[in-house]
């Protein structure tokens, strides 16, 4: 048993494992384990299945800042089957959306959206949108206000360009932006993934963001790095 500490009202770190307070009691979203801490049910955040979870496990000095505030508005590009998303929901919305948060999740695949729509039924505050993360004009109208927190995990060439455009378009000044970068999706220059990450960091600085931390996810999610920026 390690030492327990809380990152926020909903997120708890117990030794090496991360737990979030389950906004939807008794339901395990993707087969993760459930456990009670002081009478409140928590879900284990598996860092090998969620890049955000991995970043939380690996972050050196931004662990307390990485996650969105309770009740904030979030935009999640490339939501997939909603593994990370469910934990974000625990943090931002809570049971029955008590904290009045709002998470807009965009994904291209109808198969993934099927799972997300099902999840949105039991987790109010979650808004799944079927659309291409690159093509803002097709779904940008559903994001009426600027968001406080933006996460992107799209694993395709030109991820940085999409991220910079998305931050400029949707993120509030001073908002937090997280880019999960898959080195293998970018053009391979033959100089290894470190070179890819360096050029990405350069592009982000050029776009006028401050990089708070670059978190290497090696070991939990190979060839990935997560960039945490402030707009």
């Amino acid at each position: 048993m390690g030492k327990k500490r809380r990152l926020s009202g909903a997120v708890l770190i117990d030794g090496r494992s991360i737990w979030t307070r389950n906004a939807c009691p008794k339901v395990s979203q993707y087969g993760e384990s459930l456990r009670r801490f002081q009478g409140v049910e928590h879900r284990r955040w598996d860092p090998t299945r969620s890049k955000l979870g991995a970043a939380l496990a690996r972050a050196r000095h931004t662990q307390y800042d990485l996650l969105p505030e309770e009740g904030s508005t979030c935009l999640y590009l490339g939501a997939g089957h909603g593994t990370s998303l469910s934990h974000i929901h625990d943090q931002v919305c809570g049971p029955d959306n008590q904290m009045a948060g709002r998470i807009i999740a965009v994904d291209l695949s109808p198969r993934c959206l099927r799972d997300l729509i099902h999840m949105a039924k039991i987790r109010p505050g979650l808004v799944p949108i079927l659309g291409d993360a690159r093509n803002f004009s097709a779904w940008g109208v559903m994001v009426s206000t600027k968001v406080d927190w933006l996460f992107q995990d799209v694993s395709q060439a030109g991820q940085v360009g999409i991220f910079i455009d998305a931050v400029n378009r949707f993120l509030k000044p001073g908002g937090k932006g997280l880019l999960s970068l898959k080195a293998a999706s970018e053009r391979w220059t033959g100089q290894g993934e470190r070179a890819v990450f360096e050029s990405v960091a350069e592009q982000l600085l050029e776009a006028g963001f401050t990089i708070e931390e670059q978190i290497n996810l090696h070991g939990l999610e190979d060839n990935h790095s997560l960039f945490f920026i402030y707009n």
């Binding site: 729509i117 949105a120 994001v143 206000t145």
Partner: protein, 335 residues
């Protein structure tokens, strides 16, 4: 001057961001109208509010909400209640999008074709075991001709003696116990059932393939056409493949081993299933599959991009071409 708009309102502001005029839409309480409105804006169409403001301020630059050109201003953003309705509408639109995916013939073809492949693999093992099993008890029996009918015959006979009479062969000394024979009968029944299911599945594949890829089906047959379509992950992608890729689609293993280790390149992939290729002598299969793949790329492009359907004559011409290739190369080339 700038004209800002989103799904709910439109506003005009001057260069310094002072709002001059606002027009708002209040019909967002109705979910269906809201969905229609969102659809309109996401296609970059102009809302009625914009038109109203345009008639008052003809020389403004129209920009949608979020456009980086717009100056900072106190735009009339939606209230919390409106955003709640917006979220409901967004989920509804996503649901409709997911429902629409069920109408996608590419996805439907993929499931039914892969399912029928799996069932066929099961059928082959079950049927093979049945033949061996019966052959053990009736060593005299020969099934070369009526292999497929054996399962029915086993089902029709009460005992091994019945079966040997049906097959018109002598009865051996040893036979299975009654319970064992029962199991054998059940095994034969499952072979029969799977065969029937397989046939109905392949009928559906034929039907779907012929309607989704009419020209390609006319050329290659609906099942092969569907298989190529599934292998390429959809008709839109298949139509964009070069003929060389079409020719070796389904022979990826041989192709990449060729690229990596220099083994001989594959001459045909799934297209080998076509009798023009598989029933030709070995030394011209490459020529025919190359020609056929080139024709197939044209056919699938006709299907995808709305070209003319291929007629019997067009296919007869290709059949003639196959004949010519066969006649021109009666013997393998000497090297």
């Amino acid at each position: 001057m700038w004209l800002w708009y989103d799904w709910r309102a439109a506003a005009v502001a001057d260069e310094r961001g002072n709002i001059l005029d606002i027009d708002e839409w209040s019909g967002w309480g109705d979910l269906d109208r809201l969905c229609a409105r969102l659809d309109m804006v996401s296609h970059q169409e102009i809302t009625p509010e914009v038109e109203v403001l345009l008639s008052r301020f003809p020389d403004v630059q129209v920009r949608i909400h979020g456009d980086p050109d717009l100056p900072n201003a106190d735009w009339p953003l939606p209230s919390a209640g409106a955003i709640e309705c917006l979220d409901k509408a967004a989920v509804l639109i996503s649901k409709r999008g997911v429902d629409a995916a069920a109408g996608d013939p590419d996805r439907r073809l993929e499931h039914i074709l892969r399912a029928s492949d799996e069932l066929r693999a099961a059928y082959i093992t079950i049927e093979g075991r049945l033949i061996e099993w019966v052959g053990l008890f009736l060593p005299e029996a020969r099934f070369e001709r009526e292999r497929a009918a054996l399962a029915d015959k086993v089902l029709d006979s009460e005992s091994l003696a019945d079966l040997s009479k049906l097959l018109d062969i002598g009865m051996p000394e040893r036979g299975p116990s009654a319970k064992e024979w029962q199991c054998l009968g059940d095994w034969a029944r499952s072979a029969c059932e799977i065969k029937i299911r397989l046939e109905s599945m392949e009928d559906v594949v034929r039907e779907l393939g012929a309607s989704h890829l009419p020209s390609l089906s006319a050329l290659l047959g609906p099942i092969l056409a569907s298989r190529l379509c599934v292998e390429a992950h959809g008709r839109a992608r298949l139509a964009r493949l070069p003929a060389g890729t079409m020719q070796i689609l389904g022979a990826e293993k041989a192709f990449f081993s060729h690229l990596k280790t220099g083994t001989p390149p594959p001459k045909h992939g799934h297209i080998f299933m076509h009798p023009w290729v598989s029933h030709s002598p070995r030394w011209i299969r490459g020529k025919i599959s190359r020609m056929l793949a080139a024709k197939a790329t044209i056919a699938v492009r006709c299907d995808e991009f709305g070209g003319q359907l291929w007629t019997e004559e067009a296919i007869a011409e290709i059949a003639d071409r196959v004949e010519t290739i066969r006649e021109e190369n009666p013997y393998p080339s000497q090297r």
